[in-house]
Amino acid sequence: MSNKIELIVARLEALLSSETPDPDSLRETAEALLSQFQRQSRQLDRLVKLSDANAEKLTKSNTALSSLTRNLARFVPETVVDALMKSGDEQLAGTQRRQLTVFFSDIVDFTGMTEKLEPEQLARLMMDYFSEMNRLCARWGGTLDQFIGDAIVIFFGAPKSKGAQTDACNAVGMALEMQERLKALRVKWAGEGLSPPLHVRMGLSTGYATVGNFGSDSRLHYTAIGNTVNAAARIQGLANADSILIDADTQALVQDSTSCRRGDSVTLRGRQHPVQLYEVSADQTARSQEFVVGSGDGFRLFLDSAILSDKQAALSLLREAVRQLEEQDDQAS
Protein backbone atom coordinates (compact mmCIF):
# COMPACT_ATOMS: atom_id res chain seq x y z
CA MET A 1 0.00 0.00 0.00
CA SER A 2 1.46 3.40 -0.96
CA ASN A 3 1.97 6.17 1.60
CA LYS A 4 -0.76 8.22 -0.02
CA ILE A 5 -3.35 5.48 0.39
CA GLU A 6 -2.20 4.81 3.92
CA LEU A 7 -2.80 8.47 4.78
CA ILE A 8 -6.28 8.48 3.21
CA VAL A 9 -7.23 5.24 4.97
CA ALA A 10 -6.00 6.66 8.30
CA ARG A 11 -8.05 9.79 7.71
CA LEU A 12 -11.13 7.75 6.85
CA GLU A 13 -10.70 5.56 9.94
CA ALA A 14 -10.45 8.69 12.11
CA LEU A 15 -13.63 10.09 10.58
CA LEU A 16 -15.51 6.83 11.01
CA SER A 17 -14.45 6.53 14.64
CA SER A 18 -16.19 9.81 15.35
CA GLU A 19 -19.80 9.54 16.48
CA THR A 20 -20.80 12.39 14.20
CA PRO A 21 -18.40 12.48 11.26
CA ASP A 22 -18.47 15.56 9.09
CA PRO A 23 -20.35 14.50 5.93
CA ASP A 24 -18.32 16.76 3.62
CA SER A 25 -15.01 15.49 4.98
CA LEU A 26 -16.30 11.93 4.75
CA ARG A 27 -17.35 12.43 1.14
CA GLU A 28 -14.06 14.14 0.23
CA THR A 29 -12.01 11.33 1.81
CA ALA A 30 -14.08 8.59 0.17
CA GLU A 31 -13.61 10.28 -3.23
CA ALA A 32 -9.85 10.54 -2.67
CA LEU A 33 -9.78 6.84 -1.75
CA LEU A 34 -11.83 5.97 -4.84
CA SER A 35 -9.48 8.01 -7.01
CA GLN A 36 -6.48 6.20 -5.56
CA PHE A 37 -8.22 2.84 -5.98
CA GLN A 38 -8.87 3.61 -9.66
CA ARG A 39 -5.25 4.67 -10.11
CA GLN A 40 -4.01 1.48 -8.44
CA SER A 41 -6.34 -0.57 -10.62
CA ARG A 42 -4.94 1.07 -13.77
CA GLN A 43 -1.41 0.50 -12.53
CA LEU A 44 -2.18 -3.16 -11.87
CA ASP A 45 -3.49 -3.53 -15.44
CA ARG A 46 -0.29 -1.95 -16.77
CA LEU A 47 1.91 -4.19 -14.65
CA VAL A 48 0.08 -7.33 -15.76
CA LYS A 49 0.40 -6.21 -19.39
CA LEU A 50 4.09 -5.44 -18.94
CA SER A 51 4.67 -8.71 -17.13
CA ASP A 52 3.03 -10.64 -19.98
CA ALA A 53 5.08 -8.71 -22.51
CA ASN A 54 8.29 -9.48 -20.62
CA ALA A 55 7.32 -13.16 -20.44
CA GLU A 56 6.74 -13.09 -24.21
CA LYS A 57 10.16 -11.49 -24.72
CA LEU A 58 11.68 -14.21 -22.54
CA THR A 59 9.97 -16.94 -24.57
CA LYS A 60 11.32 -15.40 -27.78
CA SER A 61 14.81 -15.17 -26.26
CA ASN A 62 14.62 -18.82 -25.18
CA THR A 63 13.55 -19.87 -28.67
CA ALA A 64 16.44 -17.90 -30.17
CA LEU A 65 18.83 -19.42 -27.62
CA SER A 66 17.64 -22.96 -28.42
CA SER A 67 18.14 -22.32 -32.11
CA LEU A 68 21.57 -20.84 -31.43
CA THR A 69 22.53 -23.87 -29.33
CA ARG A 70 21.42 -26.25 -32.09
CA ASN A 71 23.41 -24.31 -34.67
CA LEU A 72 26.38 -23.97 -32.34
CA ALA A 73 26.52 -27.75 -32.00
CA ARG A 74 27.07 -27.93 -35.76
CA PHE A 75 30.27 -25.92 -35.43
CA VAL A 76 31.48 -26.82 -31.94
CA PRO A 77 31.62 -30.37 -30.49
CA GLU A 78 28.40 -31.33 -28.70
CA THR A 79 30.33 -32.35 -25.61
CA VAL A 80 31.85 -28.85 -25.49
CA VAL A 81 28.46 -27.16 -26.03
CA ASP A 82 26.99 -29.24 -23.17
CA ALA A 83 29.88 -28.34 -20.88
CA LEU A 84 29.56 -24.64 -21.72
CA MET A 85 25.80 -24.63 -21.15
CA LYS A 86 26.18 -26.25 -17.75
CA SER A 87 29.24 -24.49 -16.43
CA GLY A 88 29.32 -21.05 -18.02
CA ASP A 89 32.43 -19.00 -18.49
CA GLU A 90 34.85 -20.99 -16.33
CA GLN A 91 34.90 -23.72 -18.99
CA LEU A 92 36.26 -21.14 -21.42
CA ALA A 93 39.26 -20.34 -19.33
CA GLY A 94 42.56 -22.14 -19.25
CA THR A 95 43.83 -25.52 -20.26
CA GLN A 96 44.25 -28.81 -18.44
CA ARG A 97 46.52 -31.81 -18.60
CA ARG A 98 44.25 -34.80 -19.15
CA GLN A 99 44.55 -38.44 -20.12
CA LEU A 100 42.90 -38.85 -23.50
CA THR A 101 42.38 -41.52 -26.09
CA VAL A 102 42.86 -39.73 -29.39
CA PHE A 103 41.37 -41.02 -32.64
CA PHE A 104 42.77 -39.98 -36.01
CA SER A 105 41.41 -41.14 -39.37
CA ASP A 106 42.36 -40.48 -42.95
CA ILE A 107 40.93 -41.50 -46.32
CA VAL A 108 43.23 -43.72 -48.39
CA ASP A 109 44.32 -42.01 -51.63
CA PHE A 110 42.02 -39.05 -51.16
CA THR A 111 43.90 -37.03 -53.77
CA GLY A 112 43.34 -39.77 -56.36
CA MET A 113 39.67 -39.87 -55.43
CA THR A 114 39.26 -36.12 -55.93
CA GLU A 115 40.62 -36.47 -59.45
CA LYS A 116 38.08 -39.15 -60.33
CA LEU A 117 34.99 -37.33 -59.03
CA GLU A 118 33.23 -34.15 -60.11
CA PRO A 119 33.34 -31.43 -57.40
CA GLU A 120 29.59 -31.81 -56.72
CA GLN A 121 29.92 -35.59 -56.36
CA LEU A 122 32.89 -35.16 -54.06
CA ALA A 123 31.03 -32.60 -51.94
CA ARG A 124 28.04 -34.97 -51.60
CA LEU A 125 30.25 -37.92 -50.75
CA MET A 126 32.23 -36.00 -48.15
CA MET A 127 29.09 -34.52 -46.58
CA ASP A 128 27.68 -38.03 -46.30
CA TYR A 129 30.93 -39.37 -44.89
CA PHE A 130 31.53 -36.61 -42.34
CA SER A 131 27.86 -36.59 -41.23
CA GLU A 132 27.87 -40.32 -40.55
CA MET A 133 31.21 -40.24 -38.75
CA ASN A 134 30.11 -37.23 -36.70
CA ARG A 135 26.88 -39.01 -35.74
CA LEU A 136 28.85 -42.02 -34.49
CA CYS A 137 31.25 -39.74 -32.62
CA ALA A 138 28.32 -38.15 -30.77
CA ARG A 139 26.75 -41.56 -30.07
CA TRP A 140 29.94 -42.82 -28.41
CA GLY A 141 30.48 -39.57 -26.48
CA GLY A 142 33.59 -38.40 -28.33
CA THR A 143 34.67 -34.79 -28.73
CA LEU A 144 35.06 -33.99 -32.40
CA ASP A 145 38.19 -31.88 -32.39
CA GLN A 146 38.38 -31.02 -36.07
CA PHE A 147 38.21 -32.05 -39.69
CA ILE A 148 41.58 -31.49 -41.34
CA GLY A 149 40.88 -31.87 -45.03
CA ASP A 150 39.70 -35.47 -45.24
CA ALA A 151 41.11 -36.36 -41.81
CA ILE A 152 39.03 -36.54 -38.63
CA VAL A 153 40.40 -35.95 -35.14
CA ILE A 154 38.29 -37.04 -32.17
CA PHE A 155 39.25 -37.42 -28.55
CA PHE A 156 37.73 -39.13 -25.53
CA GLY A 157 38.36 -38.04 -21.93
CA ALA A 158 37.61 -34.30 -22.15
CA PRO A 159 35.78 -32.13 -21.40
CA LYS A 160 34.14 -35.05 -19.54
CA SER A 161 35.82 -38.33 -18.77
CA LYS A 162 34.06 -41.59 -17.93
CA GLY A 163 37.32 -43.04 -16.67
CA ALA A 164 40.37 -43.92 -18.76
CA GLN A 165 39.22 -47.48 -19.49
CA THR A 166 35.70 -46.53 -20.59
CA ASP A 167 37.04 -43.63 -22.64
CA ALA A 168 39.44 -45.96 -24.48
CA CYS A 169 36.75 -48.64 -24.95
CA ASN A 170 34.34 -46.05 -26.34
CA ALA A 171 37.01 -44.73 -28.71
CA VAL A 172 37.77 -48.21 -30.05
CA GLY A 173 34.06 -49.10 -30.13
CA MET A 174 33.40 -45.98 -32.19
CA ALA A 175 36.24 -46.81 -34.60
CA LEU A 176 34.89 -50.34 -35.09
CA GLU A 177 31.39 -49.05 -35.76
CA MET A 178 32.77 -46.47 -38.19
CA GLN A 179 34.51 -49.18 -40.22
CA GLU A 180 31.31 -51.27 -40.16
CA ARG A 181 29.24 -48.27 -41.24
CA LEU A 182 31.69 -47.52 -44.07
CA LYS A 183 31.07 -50.96 -45.54
CA ALA A 184 27.36 -50.12 -45.81
CA LEU A 185 28.11 -46.62 -47.12
CA ARG A 186 30.34 -48.02 -49.88
CA VAL A 187 27.43 -50.14 -51.13
CA LYS A 188 25.13 -47.11 -50.99
CA TRP A 189 27.60 -44.85 -52.80
CA ALA A 190 28.22 -47.48 -55.49
CA GLY A 191 24.43 -47.60 -56.04
CA GLU A 192 24.46 -43.82 -56.53
CA GLY A 193 27.18 -44.08 -59.15
CA LEU A 194 29.96 -42.85 -56.89
CA SER A 195 32.35 -45.55 -57.92
CA PRO A 196 35.70 -44.64 -56.32
CA PRO A 197 35.73 -46.79 -53.19
CA LEU A 198 36.33 -44.84 -50.01
CA HIS A 199 38.59 -46.66 -47.57
CA VAL A 200 39.79 -45.28 -44.29
CA ARG A 201 42.80 -45.82 -42.04
CA MET A 202 42.35 -45.25 -38.33
CA GLY A 203 44.89 -44.79 -35.54
CA LEU A 204 44.38 -44.42 -31.80
CA SER A 205 46.73 -43.46 -29.03
CA THR A 206 46.23 -43.02 -25.29
CA GLY A 207 48.25 -40.71 -23.10
CA TYR A 208 48.42 -37.28 -21.57
CA ALA A 209 47.70 -34.15 -23.57
CA THR A 210 47.00 -30.51 -22.87
CA VAL A 211 43.34 -29.91 -23.55
CA GLY A 212 41.35 -26.70 -23.49
CA ASN A 213 40.60 -23.57 -25.42
CA PHE A 214 43.47 -22.40 -27.56
CA GLY A 215 43.55 -19.36 -29.78
CA SER A 216 43.10 -15.66 -29.32
CA ASP A 217 40.83 -13.73 -26.93
CA SER A 218 38.24 -13.29 -29.65
CA ARG A 219 38.41 -16.73 -31.25
CA LEU A 220 38.95 -19.93 -29.35
CA HIS A 221 39.13 -23.55 -30.41
CA TYR A 222 38.61 -26.36 -27.94
CA THR A 223 41.32 -28.81 -28.84
CA ALA A 224 44.01 -31.15 -27.56
CA ILE A 225 47.73 -30.62 -28.05
CA GLY A 226 50.57 -32.98 -27.29
CA ASN A 227 52.52 -36.08 -28.20
CA THR A 228 49.46 -38.31 -27.89
CA VAL A 229 47.70 -36.41 -30.67
CA ASN A 230 50.78 -36.59 -32.90
CA ALA A 231 51.16 -40.29 -32.09
CA ALA A 232 47.55 -41.01 -33.12
CA ALA A 233 48.18 -39.29 -36.46
CA ARG A 234 51.40 -41.25 -37.06
CA ILE A 235 49.88 -44.58 -36.01
CA GLN A 236 47.04 -43.92 -38.44
CA GLY A 237 49.64 -43.45 -41.17
CA LEU A 238 50.95 -46.95 -40.49
CA ALA A 239 47.52 -48.62 -40.58
CA ASN A 240 46.27 -50.59 -43.56
CA ALA A 241 43.14 -49.54 -45.43
CA ASP A 242 39.94 -50.39 -43.51
CA SER A 243 41.89 -51.21 -40.37
CA ILE A 244 42.29 -49.77 -36.88
CA LEU A 245 45.73 -49.60 -35.32
CA ILE A 246 46.18 -48.77 -31.64
CA ASP A 247 49.15 -48.28 -29.34
CA ALA A 248 50.01 -50.46 -26.33
CA ASP A 249 48.52 -47.99 -23.83
CA THR A 250 45.16 -48.13 -25.57
CA GLN A 251 45.34 -51.91 -25.93
CA ALA A 252 46.06 -52.28 -22.21
CA LEU A 253 42.82 -50.43 -21.44
CA VAL A 254 40.60 -52.31 -23.91
CA GLN A 255 42.11 -55.81 -23.73
CA ASP A 256 39.35 -57.19 -21.51
CA SER A 257 36.69 -56.39 -24.03
CA THR A 258 38.35 -56.14 -27.40
CA SER A 259 40.27 -58.63 -29.47
CA CYS A 260 43.50 -57.30 -30.94
CA ARG A 261 46.38 -58.77 -32.93
CA ARG A 262 49.87 -57.88 -31.87
CA GLY A 263 51.54 -55.93 -34.65
CA ASP A 264 54.91 -54.34 -35.19
CA SER A 265 56.92 -52.43 -32.66
CA VAL A 266 57.82 -49.11 -34.28
CA THR A 267 59.65 -45.98 -33.33
CA LEU A 268 57.36 -43.09 -34.17
CA ARG A 269 58.86 -39.90 -35.49
CA GLY A 270 59.78 -37.64 -32.59
CA ARG A 271 59.89 -40.48 -30.07
CA GLN A 272 62.95 -42.15 -28.61
CA HIS A 273 61.46 -45.51 -27.68
CA PRO A 274 59.62 -47.98 -29.88
CA VAL A 275 55.85 -48.31 -29.45
CA GLN A 276 54.14 -51.69 -29.62
CA LEU A 277 51.17 -51.51 -31.97
CA TYR A 278 48.05 -53.69 -32.10
CA GLU A 279 45.52 -54.10 -34.85
CA VAL A 280 41.95 -54.23 -33.61
CA SER A 281 40.26 -57.34 -34.99
CA ALA A 282 37.61 -56.31 -37.44
CA ASP A 283 35.13 -58.95 -36.40
CA GLN A 284 34.66 -58.61 -32.67
CA THR A 285 31.47 -60.71 -32.62
CA ALA A 286 33.18 -63.77 -34.12
CA ARG A 287 35.76 -63.78 -31.37
CA SER A 288 33.18 -63.94 -28.62
CA GLN A 289 32.98 -67.74 -28.91
CA GLU A 290 36.76 -67.99 -28.66
CA PHE A 291 37.14 -65.36 -26.00
CA VAL A 292 37.26 -66.29 -22.30
CA VAL A 293 37.71 -63.60 -19.74
CA GLY A 294 37.16 -63.36 -16.00
CA SER A 295 38.70 -62.14 -12.79
CA GLY A 296 38.25 -62.25 -9.04
CA ASP A 297 40.27 -62.32 -5.82
CA GLY A 298 43.37 -64.34 -6.59
CA PHE A 299 42.79 -64.98 -10.27
CA ARG A 300 42.64 -63.22 -13.59
CA LEU A 301 41.96 -64.98 -16.88
CA PHE A 302 42.15 -63.69 -20.42
CA LEU A 303 42.04 -66.10 -23.35
CA ASP A 304 41.50 -65.12 -26.95
CA SER A 305 42.03 -68.28 -28.95
CA ALA A 306 41.61 -66.35 -32.20
CA ILE A 307 44.94 -64.67 -31.70
CA LEU A 308 46.66 -67.27 -29.54
CA SER A 309 50.14 -67.91 -30.92
CA ASP A 310 51.52 -70.47 -28.43
CA LYS A 311 48.67 -72.88 -27.74
CA GLN A 312 50.87 -75.41 -25.87
CA ALA A 313 52.16 -72.82 -23.42
CA ALA A 314 48.59 -71.70 -22.72
CA LEU A 315 47.40 -75.28 -22.20
CA SER A 316 50.33 -75.98 -19.89
CA LEU A 317 49.52 -72.93 -17.73
CA LEU A 318 45.83 -73.76 -17.60
CA ARG A 319 46.46 -77.43 -16.66
CA GLU A 320 48.81 -76.33 -13.89
CA ALA A 321 46.20 -73.87 -12.62
CA VAL A 322 43.46 -76.55 -12.66
CA ARG A 323 45.78 -79.08 -10.93
CA GLN A 324 46.54 -76.64 -8.13
CA LEU A 325 42.89 -75.76 -7.61
CA GLU A 326 41.79 -79.41 -7.56
CA GLU A 327 44.58 -80.31 -5.15
CA GLN A 328 43.49 -77.55 -2.75
CA ASP A 329 39.90 -78.66 -3.13
CA ASP A 330 40.79 -82.27 -2.21
CA GLN A 331 42.76 -81.14 0.85
CA ALA A 332 39.84 -79.05 2.02
CA SER A 333 37.41 -81.97 1.78
Partner: protein, 128 residues
Protein backbone atom coordinates in the same frame (compact mmCIF):
# COMPACT_ATOMS: atom_id res chain seq x y z
CA UNK B 1 20.51 17.87 -0.05
CA UNK B 2 23.14 15.69 -1.67
CA UNK B 3 23.92 14.60 -5.19
CA UNK B 4 23.37 10.93 -5.92
CA UNK B 5 25.56 8.93 -8.27
CA UNK B 6 25.02 5.20 -8.70
CA UNK B 7 27.15 3.27 -11.18
CA UNK B 8 25.30 0.94 -13.53
CA UNK B 9 25.51 -2.79 -12.80
CA UNK B 10 24.31 -5.73 -14.87
CA UNK B 11 20.96 -5.49 -13.03
CA UNK B 12 20.62 -1.81 -12.14
CA UNK B 13 20.74 1.41 -14.15
CA UNK B 14 23.17 4.26 -13.70
CA UNK B 15 21.52 7.02 -11.67
CA UNK B 16 22.78 10.60 -11.49
CA UNK B 17 20.96 13.25 -9.48
CA UNK B 18 22.72 16.59 -9.83
CA UNK B 19 21.03 18.87 -7.31
CA UNK B 20 22.97 21.94 -8.44
CA UNK B 21 21.95 21.60 -12.07
CA UNK B 22 18.52 20.21 -11.16
CA UNK B 23 18.85 17.09 -13.33
CA UNK B 24 18.17 13.41 -12.87
CA UNK B 25 19.39 10.75 -15.32
CA UNK B 26 18.54 7.04 -15.31
CA UNK B 27 20.29 4.93 -17.92
CA UNK B 28 20.54 1.17 -18.50
CA UNK B 29 18.52 -1.86 -17.48
CA UNK B 30 16.57 -2.32 -14.28
CA UNK B 31 15.84 -5.65 -12.61
CA UNK B 32 17.50 -5.25 -9.21
CA UNK B 33 17.53 -8.09 -6.69
CA UNK B 34 16.42 -5.56 -4.07
CA UNK B 35 14.03 -3.28 -5.95
CA UNK B 36 12.68 -1.61 -2.82
CA UNK B 37 16.17 -0.81 -1.50
CA UNK B 38 17.44 0.46 -4.85
CA UNK B 39 14.53 2.82 -5.54
CA UNK B 40 14.24 3.88 -1.88
CA UNK B 41 17.71 5.42 -2.19
CA UNK B 42 16.56 7.44 -5.19
CA UNK B 43 13.18 8.51 -3.81
CA UNK B 44 14.86 9.45 -0.51
CA UNK B 45 17.33 11.71 -2.33
CA UNK B 46 14.55 13.25 -4.43
CA UNK B 47 12.34 13.90 -1.38
CA UNK B 48 15.12 15.76 0.40
CA UNK B 49 15.87 17.61 -2.89
CA UNK B 50 12.29 18.92 -3.10
CA UNK B 51 11.98 19.42 0.68
CA UNK B 52 14.98 21.76 0.51
CA UNK B 53 12.98 24.01 -1.77
CA UNK B 54 14.24 22.97 -5.17
CA UNK B 55 12.29 24.76 -7.86
CA UNK B 56 12.89 22.62 -10.92
CA UNK B 57 14.03 19.20 -12.06
CA UNK B 58 14.69 17.88 -15.54
CA UNK B 59 14.55 14.10 -15.62
CA UNK B 60 15.74 11.78 -18.38
CA UNK B 61 14.78 8.11 -18.28
CA UNK B 62 16.67 5.88 -20.72
CA UNK B 63 15.84 2.34 -19.71
CA UNK B 64 16.24 -0.40 -22.32
CA UNK B 65 14.63 -2.99 -20.06
CA UNK B 66 12.85 -2.97 -16.70
CA UNK B 67 10.98 -5.74 -14.94
CA UNK B 68 7.55 -5.52 -13.35
CA UNK B 69 8.87 -4.63 -9.90
CA UNK B 70 10.92 -1.79 -11.38
CA UNK B 71 7.84 -0.67 -13.33
CA UNK B 72 5.90 -0.36 -10.11
CA UNK B 73 8.77 1.61 -8.56
CA UNK B 74 8.86 3.87 -11.63
CA UNK B 75 5.15 4.60 -11.23
CA UNK B 76 5.75 5.62 -7.62
CA UNK B 77 8.70 7.76 -8.72
CA UNK B 78 6.50 9.54 -11.27
CA UNK B 79 3.85 10.03 -8.57
CA UNK B 80 6.48 11.65 -6.34
CA UNK B 81 7.56 13.97 -9.16
CA UNK B 82 3.92 14.81 -9.92
CA UNK B 83 3.28 15.67 -6.28
CA UNK B 84 6.35 17.95 -6.27
CA UNK B 85 5.03 19.64 -9.42
CA UNK B 86 1.64 20.03 -7.74
CA UNK B 87 3.39 21.92 -4.95
CA UNK B 88 4.91 24.37 -7.44
CA UNK B 89 8.15 22.83 -8.69
CA UNK B 90 8.73 22.82 -12.41
CA UNK B 91 9.24 19.17 -13.28
CA UNK B 92 9.96 17.86 -16.78
CA UNK B 93 10.36 14.17 -17.58
CA UNK B 94 11.84 13.02 -20.90
CA UNK B 95 11.21 9.28 -21.19
CA UNK B 96 13.22 7.69 -23.98
CA UNK B 97 11.79 4.38 -25.26
CA UNK B 98 13.08 1.89 -27.80
CA UNK B 99 11.01 2.75 -30.93
CA UNK B 100 10.68 -0.99 -31.68
CA UNK B 101 9.37 -1.80 -28.21
CA UNK B 102 5.66 -0.95 -28.36
CA UNK B 103 4.88 -2.41 -24.94
CA UNK B 104 7.36 -0.22 -23.07
CA UNK B 105 6.24 2.83 -25.01
CA UNK B 106 2.57 2.12 -24.23
CA UNK B 107 3.49 1.63 -20.59
CA UNK B 108 5.26 5.01 -20.49
CA UNK B 109 2.32 6.70 -22.25
CA UNK B 110 -0.14 5.13 -19.78
CA UNK B 111 1.85 6.39 -16.81
CA UNK B 112 2.16 9.83 -18.39
CA UNK B 113 -1.66 9.97 -18.63
CA UNK B 114 -1.85 9.70 -14.84
CA UNK B 115 0.60 12.55 -14.33
CA UNK B 116 -1.28 15.82 -14.24
CA UNK B 117 1.18 18.41 -12.90
CA UNK B 118 4.59 17.40 -14.20
CA UNK B 119 5.35 17.44 -17.92
CA UNK B 120 6.12 14.03 -19.41
CA UNK B 121 7.40 13.66 -22.98
CA UNK B 122 7.90 10.27 -24.65
CA UNK B 123 10.83 10.24 -27.06
CA UNK B 124 12.66 7.71 -29.22
CA UNK B 125 15.73 6.13 -27.72
CA UNK B 126 18.75 5.78 -29.98
CA UNK B 127 19.31 2.04 -30.03
CA UNK B 128 22.67 1.02 -31.46
Amino acid sequence: MNDLHLEATSRTPAVALDTGAGTLMMTGESYPEDVTGFFATLTGALSSFFDSGAESLNTEIRLTYFNSSSARALMELLELLDDAAAKGAKVNVSWYCDPDDDITREFAEDIAADVSNASVTILDLDVE
